[in-house]
């Protein structure tokens, strides 16, 4: 069994199934995007037991007994958004949206680890995700804003 967004799901039927394809094709969780399928673009990033990982670089069978959180699991209802999603919305951290789920999951894991990062740490923290249209300046702003929103939430 794999605990996906808090719900127990039966594992994949084939050991060849990548975690990314299992989420999209077997569970219909198409919020996890698939870009390069070799670990470069970061679109398919999900949380595995709370840490961001590339779901295209893992077999679904390896998630057996673990918790997986996808973009759908961050804010299950349409509103309110998760603080990281809210920050991307406010700061124009997305344009076409293809890379966004990966960025949001990476940033969620990054800020959980480092709640008040410096600008250099933010740049380092998002370096594993590629965006081809919005531009990293707005995304960096969104990360700073997300850190504020998360801090407000904790206060």
């Amino acid at each position: 069994m794999i605990l996906v967004n808090g719900t127990e799901r039966a594992g994949p039927t084939s050991v060849r199934r990548l975690l990314s394809d299992y989420l999209r094709h077997d569970l219909g969780l198409t919020g996890t995007h698939v870009g390069c399928e070799h670990g470069v673009c970061g679109c398919c990033t999900v949380l595995l037991d709370g840490s961001p990982v590339r779901s295209c670089l893992m077999l679904a069978v390896q998630a057996d007994g673990h918790q997986v959180t996808t973009i759908e699991g961050l804010a299950p209802e349409a509103a309110p958004l998760h603080p990281v999603q809210q920050a991307f919305h406010e700061c124009h951290g997305l344009q076409c949206g293809f890379c966004t789920p990966g960025f949001v999951m990476s940033v969620t894991g990054f800020l959980a680890d480092n709640p008040s990062p410096s600008d250099a740490e933010i740049t380092e923290g998002i370096a594993g995700n590629l965006c081809r249209c919005t531009g990293y300046a707005s995304i960096r702003r969104a990360v700073r804003r997300a850190a504020e929103l998360l801090e407000d939430e904790r206060a």
């Binding site: 970061g42 840490s51 670089l57 893992m58 077999l59 069978v61 380092e124 923290g125």
Partner: protein, 254 residues
């Protein structure tokens, strides 16, 4: 881009793992998978069997032994990067890990996996070489130690036999006078050239089929790098000169 057909095995102990490796024809160890899974996705690797060691908890250990630190085969790079024992006794290892791909990759990738994969541009392989470390290889035939200078044989080639599992990598204790500098086109990419220094010992990576030790006074002597898509051979030689100078004068990394 999907992995080819393989049989999947998830052993729970080292004994079970080496028994599988001994009995199975064409088996490959799967650790962090951050190099192996892309190779499967690209169909560049087509092993008949994958032996997944992620469930072998006895391989998750970081411990001090013989004036150094041993890192088990299932220890993630992210764990090693933050490990207080490595930070205190082997500061070059966490320092180098900051240059290995990106944080999200290091959350899954393992230290021993990088060594067994033996990418010519691997920081960790050069670190093991410059420090004079070793790996411990186990098979049903027994256990042996492979010194770093014997381990790396060529591009993605090591002295490991098909039935051997790297159970741990051992790094000798060292002082804080270490540095690592590398140059890549984009942050987190494989380096076009890199230099790692521990005291007065220097190793180069990304400029030969394996990491190589170099003379700090003449770091390019005997070096014949091949050009690749990003970098001519001459430019690699130039980078080695510049990076060696920087490595000599700088502590830490860039």
């Amino acid at each position: 881009m999907k992995p080819p057909v393989f049989e999947y095995h998830a052993p729970r102990s080292v004994a079970e793992t080496v028994a599988l490796l001994a009995d199975l024809e064409d088996a490959k160890v799967l650790a962090g998978g951050q190099s192996l899974i892309p190779l499967l996705n690209f169909r560049l690797a087509r092993p008949a069997h994958l032996v997944d060691v992620n469930g072998v908890t006895e391989l998750e250990r970081v411990h001090e032994r013989d004036s150094g630190v041993a890192v088990g085969a299932a220890v993630r790079q992210a764990t090693a990067e933050r490990h207080p024992v490595l930070r205190g006794r082997c500061p070059l290892v966490p320092l180098a890990l900051r240059h290995v791909a990106h944080q999200v990759i290091r959350n899954r990738g393992t230290v021993c996996g990088s060594l067994a994969h033996a990418d010519p541009a691997s920081e960790l392989c050069a670190v093991l070489l410059v420090l004079g470390g070793h790996v411990v290889a186990r098979s049903r035939r027994g256990e042996r130690t492979i010194e770093a200078h014997d381990l790396f044989r060529g591009t993605f080639e090591t002295a490991l036999e098909a039935d051997e599992l790297v159970t741990e990598a051992w790094f000798p204790e060292h002082g804080p006078d270490v540095s690592l500098v590398e140059e890549s086109r984009r942050h987190g990419d494989f380096a076009m050239a890199g230099v790692v220094r521990a005291g007065d010992r220097l190793a180069l990576f990304g400029v030969a089929p394996t990491p190589v030790l170099a003379d700090p006074a003449d770091p390019t002597r005997g070096l014949q790098p091949s050009a690749d898509l990003e970098c001519s051979a001459d430019f690699k030689l130039h980078l080695v000169q510049v990076l060696s100078r920087r490595a000599a004068t700088r502590e830490g990394s860039a």
